[in-house]
């Protein structure tokens, strides 16, 4: 029997557990609330939670220590998280970091003596178009300057409450979503038999917008054909890929379309529950999403017998992520929803067969689901009128870095990099990083290439790299990210990324021999095939493309003394 020490916090924890339910799937929400209430998750708290959930304390410890927003250590009332992504780097992150250190009198990873502030790095807070960005608890600050740091710190020193609701203005061009009448897609879809819903999505040749580009209709087809009493549709709103922030805009401005897409998907596959997995860094969107869900319930668009269809019951809940990039990977996301560490699973079985709680589950990106609603509102021919044969429709691109007009832009698939750069004032770029940290670095001589599944596929992140930048800094930034975010389950990724990062340091100091570079390239190639999940399979891509396309530059650095 576990011995529970007496504690003043036990009653609070009991109340938290009662609120969420004493179930393993509630473990992360429980720990999130404990952390908010106590500013730490003490050993004692972990023991109490374990006892109430009937699991071993080490299970609680292993989960609490996995997630950046949970880890056990005591934190200040306000946790300041400065974004470390490349775009924030380009925008002046280093000076802001220095200003934070001096204003708070602490280094990163530390808490002020008065217990008011903790200072940490964040991997990417999804504000890449308006960096440098930082979070103070759930609130986001953008275009932060060293001067603004003093203001922010003073504001929190003098203030108790933290208003998490926020409006963030993002530059954009005209988005098709704005022209779609709310409700039209759902109405059209619910008039169809389930099989026809799937076939319409397949007919539109919609491919997933989350990065991998898997045909959405096919995923739905298999899940719909599976027999199970319970099925789930999950909206992947983890958007952790550095340089990606289009889902944030969709969730803020077109949440109804996302929920319509989920409801249509729920009807097609036979699910009665939809879950939005919202990244911790977007906590300020949560209240808005819950409002929209509430309004939809009131309007009969969620709940029992939706659209007058007897037995079509469907509802949506929003689950909070806890700060782990790998949880965007669909099986890690499911592990996280089940209350475990976000460690990717082996496949098969695929989530469409055995996903959330072992039931058939579809995981789709936010933008994929919004596109589904548009396809039903306007028709497959309309949708296929955009893009190319193999990449139908339009895509939102998150554009940041060295350009005049960073923001979220819609273009049809197939646009060349050169044309895209023209739209955002990115002339003079020496390279663009397509697809985020896990994507590829494309040199200016290849700007005639197209963004499409048949040429350069992407989840939509475009980071413009100006002539003044050092590409080894770019590779270093991404590899630091992967070293931090690797879940550590498999060796190629856990050790490989650290080796590549070492290699970048050697290249920078002119101390990387040709033979060692060849080994590093071979290591990268091995990771691409041997890593367990997409994280480790794609993490060497930026490094490999940079040392490939910019060999003359990166291999000729003068040797440092």
């Amino acid at each position: 029997m576990l011995k529970i020490p007496e504690s003043t916090t036990r009653d609070d924890i009991v109340a938290i557990v009662e609120r969420h339910g004493a179930d393993r799937t509630s473990l992360i929400p429980i720990l999130q609330d404990v952390k908010t209430a106590e500013h730490e998750i003490s050993d004692e708290a972990m023991q109490i939670v374990a006892d109430l959930l009937g699991i071993h304390p080490v299970e609680v410890y292993s989960v609490a220590t996995f997630y950046a927003f949970l880890h056990g250590a005591t934190e200040g009332r306000y946790v300041v998280r400065l974004c470390g992504t490349l775009s924030c780097d380009f925008a002046g992150k280093t000076a802001v970091a220095e200003a934070l250190r001096s204003a708070l009198g602490i280094d990163f990873g530390a808490t002020t003596d008065d217990g008011v502030f903790t200072l940490e790095w964040a991997s990417c807070v999804g504000m890449c178009d308006q960096g440098p960005a930082l979070l103070v608890n759930d609130r986001v600050f953008t275009r932060v300057t060293p001067e603004k740091v003093a203001e922010i710190v003073a504001q929190y020193r003098g203030k108790a409450a933290d208003d998490a609701r926020q409006d963030i203005v993002t530059a954009r061009n005209e988005l098709t979503y704005a022209s779609i009448a709310a409700g039209a897609g759902l109405k059209a879809a619910l008039a169809l038999p389930r099989g026809d819903i799937v076939d319409t999505v397949s007919g539109a040749a919609l491919k997933g917008r989350g990065g991998a580009g898997f045909p959405t209709g096919m995923k739905w087809n298999f899940c719909a054909a599976e027999k199970s009493e319970h099925k789930y549709i999950i909206c992947n709103a983890d958007e952790g890929e550095p340089g990606t922030f289009k889902d944030r805009v969709i969730l803020r401005d077109f949440a109804d379309l996302v929920f319509e897409g989920m409801t249509i998907g729920g009807r097609a596959i036979g699910a009665s529950m939809g879950i939005v997995y919202l990244r911790a860094e977007y906590a300020y969107l949560r209240a808005h999403l819950n409002d929209v869900i509430h309004q939809r319930r009131e309007a009969g668009l969620l709940g029992a017998n939706i659209g007058g269809i007897e037995g079509f019951d469907f509802d949506i809940v929003v689950a909070r992520g806890a700060g782990a990039y790998v949880c965007g990977e669909e099986t890690a996301l499911i592990e996280s929803l089940e209350g475990f560490r976000g460690e990717p699973r082996n496949r098969p079985p695929f989530p469409a067969v055995a996903g959330f709680l072992n039931h058939p589950t579809v995981v789709n990106n936010v933008e994929t689901l919004a596109s589904v609603a548009c396809i039903f509102a306007k028709g497959t021919d309309w949708f296929k009128g955009f893009g190319t044969d193999k990449s139908t429709g339009y895509k939102l691109f998150s554009i940041s870095g060295d350009c005049e007009k960073p923001g979220v832009y819609e273009f049809p698939w197939g646009i060349t990099i050169a044309d895209l750069l023209k739209e955002v004032g990115g002339g003079g770029a020496k390279a663009v990083q397509i697809g985020g940290a896990s994507g590829v670095c494309v040199p200016a001589r290849d700007f005639a290439r197209r963004l499409a599944f048949e040429d350069i596929p992407t989840g939509g992140s475009v980071m413009v790299i100006g002539p003044q930048r050092d590409l080894l800094d770019v590779a270093e930034n991404f590899l630091e990210f992967f070293v931090e975010e690797s879940c550590g389950q498999c060796t190629p990724c856990r050790l490989g990324n650290a080796q590549l990062l070492d290699g970048v340091e050697l290249l920078k100091s002119g101390a990387c021999s040709a033979a060692h570079l060849a080994d590093l390239k071979a290591l990268g190639a091995t990771m691409q095939v041997a890593a367990k999940c997409g994280l480790g399979q794609t993490s060497p891509s930026a490094f490999l493309s940079i040392v490939g396309a910019f060999a003359d530059d990166v291999t000729t650095r003068p040797q440092r003394a």
Binding site: G195, G217, M218, N221, A225, E226, A352, V353
Partner: protein
């Protein structure tokens, strides 16, 4: 003489089914993908269809079965497939999503296939 159409991208399966069924006196035609299969159904007007699932796309057979039913094709369909083993699925026939008359996993004994065909054709 009943006409049977086999839609499968594997020429060995086509050939094996053809041999077995021709021996039973059936007239047998073959198609190798969804588009060809749909054309052949329109041309040949088969009395029974033997349909694979994983062809050019891994879900082609599911999509094609529904497409045919939408078009008003009412003749029996035997879904002959290894999709469950290949993808770890547990699919079976159902009116909404898998509108076929028999769902048969590969490999199948010739006698079983013949018995299913005879049963569905009322022979």
């Amino acid at each position: 003489m009943s006409k049977i159409l086999i839609v499968d991208d594997d020429p060995d399966i086509q050939e094996a089914c053809r041999l077995v069924l021709e021996k039973e006196g059936f007239q047998v035609g073959c198609a190798s993908n969804r588009a060809e299969g749909l054309r052949a159904v329109a041309d040949v007007k088969p009395d029974l269809l033997i349909l694979d699932v994983m062809m050019e796309e891994p879900d082609d057979g599911l999509t094609m079965a529904r497409e045919l039913r939408r078009q008003g094709f009412t003749e029996p369909i035997i879904m002959l497939t290894s999709v469950n083993a290949a993808m770890g699925l547990t699919i079976d026939r159902d009116d909404e999503m898998v509108p076929v008359d028999k769902f048969q996993s590969k490999p199948v004994e010739p006698a079983t296939l013949v018995a299913q065909v005879n049963e569905l054709l009322g022979l």
